[in-house]
Amino acid sequence: MASFLIGAAGFVLAMVALGLIAILWRPADVDHMMAAQLLGTGGVAILLLLAAATETPPIVDVALLLALFAAFAAVAFVRSASDPESEVPETASGG
């Protein structure tokens, strides 16, 4: 059972790797933003599989944090891609 689960984790890792290549290869920023999302699902799946395979329940907590921070990172990506000009007046008044 354990080796099947690890095999599945390895398969998902390979899929995540291929997906990352596909995402990061393209020039558009919008495509890059999907990277966190990809890790959010794929990474969580890998960690849950590893937790079950090695019978280490705390790994599930890592998956939980990964899910939370993948969403957080995605928000950061989208924020930085949103219009930078609208922020300029405020920075100018500050400095």
Partner: protein, 313 residues
């Protein structure tokens, strides 16, 4: 066992590839996104090194918080036109050779392990029961090396003072220049309403479980910081000015309680930062709760940056 090593090799190749891409990427935005992905992947590597505590910290700080910090800077630096001249070819070549030498030296050190591997693990486990903790890493952080942990909190506050002191005189005590989301959108608002309750529960869970299993004040505090930033970015809460008394109180409450308990230990247990027998666990939990709050506020403010505006009076 072999299938596990195939998994490890795949993971290492992926991490190295993403790591190299953050260096080689032409645009800063792509490089930072690569770095976030790298941080999230590295937490899987830490899991494979059976260091779950570190994996939690890396996922939170390496993946989420550092990415948020750097992306904020990328946007501002995009407005400035820096010189795009890369180092010349001979410089790059010699730098490459130098770095390869460093890597080779490290690799040689790793491949030739010492005959008697020094380890403190048996000593840690021997005395862990006295502290009432179940997580050896928490034991090291709060019992054996409590001074390091205390000083690290001080370092966080010093770093924050350093960041604040970069503000021009006119806006000292003002509002940090955290970039809020430019266009208020109902989607982001919804996420900022949905995620923080979950995050706060996770932070409390991390803080609580840290005594027994992987987790603790660092991880919990980072989650709190991230949730706070999310709420501020979405515009649901205003960014507070750094002269707010409650803010400063929260910032120091953790180190102060830690220090107070440490000083009390001088009287009650005959050593600085020693816990009186039988009371170790409740005291450590109290310190962890206070530290979680302080770390959350400190990390959030570090990510928010120096003050840039004066409060409207």
């Amino acid at each position: 066992m072999t299938i596990l090593s195939v998994f490890d090799i795949g993971l290492v190749v992926l991490i190295l590839g993403i790591g190299a891409s953050t260096i080689a990427a032409r645009e800063a935005f792509a490089a930072v996104i690569g770095f976030v992905v790298y941080g999230l992947l590295l937490s899987i590597a830490w899991v494979r090194l059976s260091a779950v505590d570190v994996a939690l910290t890396e996922a939170a700080i390496g993946g989420g918080m550092t990415g948020m910090l750097m992306l904020g800077a990328v946007v501002r630096l995009r407005l400035a036109k820096g010189s795009d001249t890369r180092a010349s070819l001979p410089v790059r070549f010699s730098a490459g050779v130098l770095c390869a030498l460093v890597t080779a030296g490290l690799a040689a050190a790793i491949l030739s392990p010492p005959e008697a591997i020094p380890t403190l693990a048996p000593m840690v486990m021997e005395n862990l029961a006295q502290s009432g903790l179940g997580n050896p890493v928490a034991g090291v952080l709060f019992v054996y090396r409590a001074l390091d942990t205390l000083l690290e909190k001080v370092v966080l506050i010093l770093a924050l003072l350093g960041v604040w002191s970069l503000a021009p005189d006119s806006v000292w005590g003002g509002i940090p220049g955290l970039r809020v989301y430019a266009r208020p959108s109902s989607t982001l608002t919804f996420l900022a309403q949905l995620l923080p309750p979950v995050g706060i529960v996770v932070a409390i869970y991390m803080c609580w479980v840290g005594a027994k299993e992987p987790g603790g004040a660092f991880q919990g505090g980072t989650v709190l910081a991230a949730m706070w930033l999310l709420v501020m970015i979405a515009g649901l809460k205003r960014v507070p000015s750094i002269s707010q008394p409650w803010l400063r109180l929260l910032l120091v409450v953790g180190p102060v309680i830690f220090l107070a308990i440490g000083l009390a230990g001088m009287v009650l247990a005959n050593a600085f930062l020693a816990y009186p027998p039988g009371y170790a666990k409740p005291l450590i939990v109290a310190v962890e709760v206070a530290l979680t709050l302080s770390i959350g506020v400190a990390l959030g403010l570090l990510a928010a940056g120096p003050p840039e505006r004066v409060q409207q009076r």
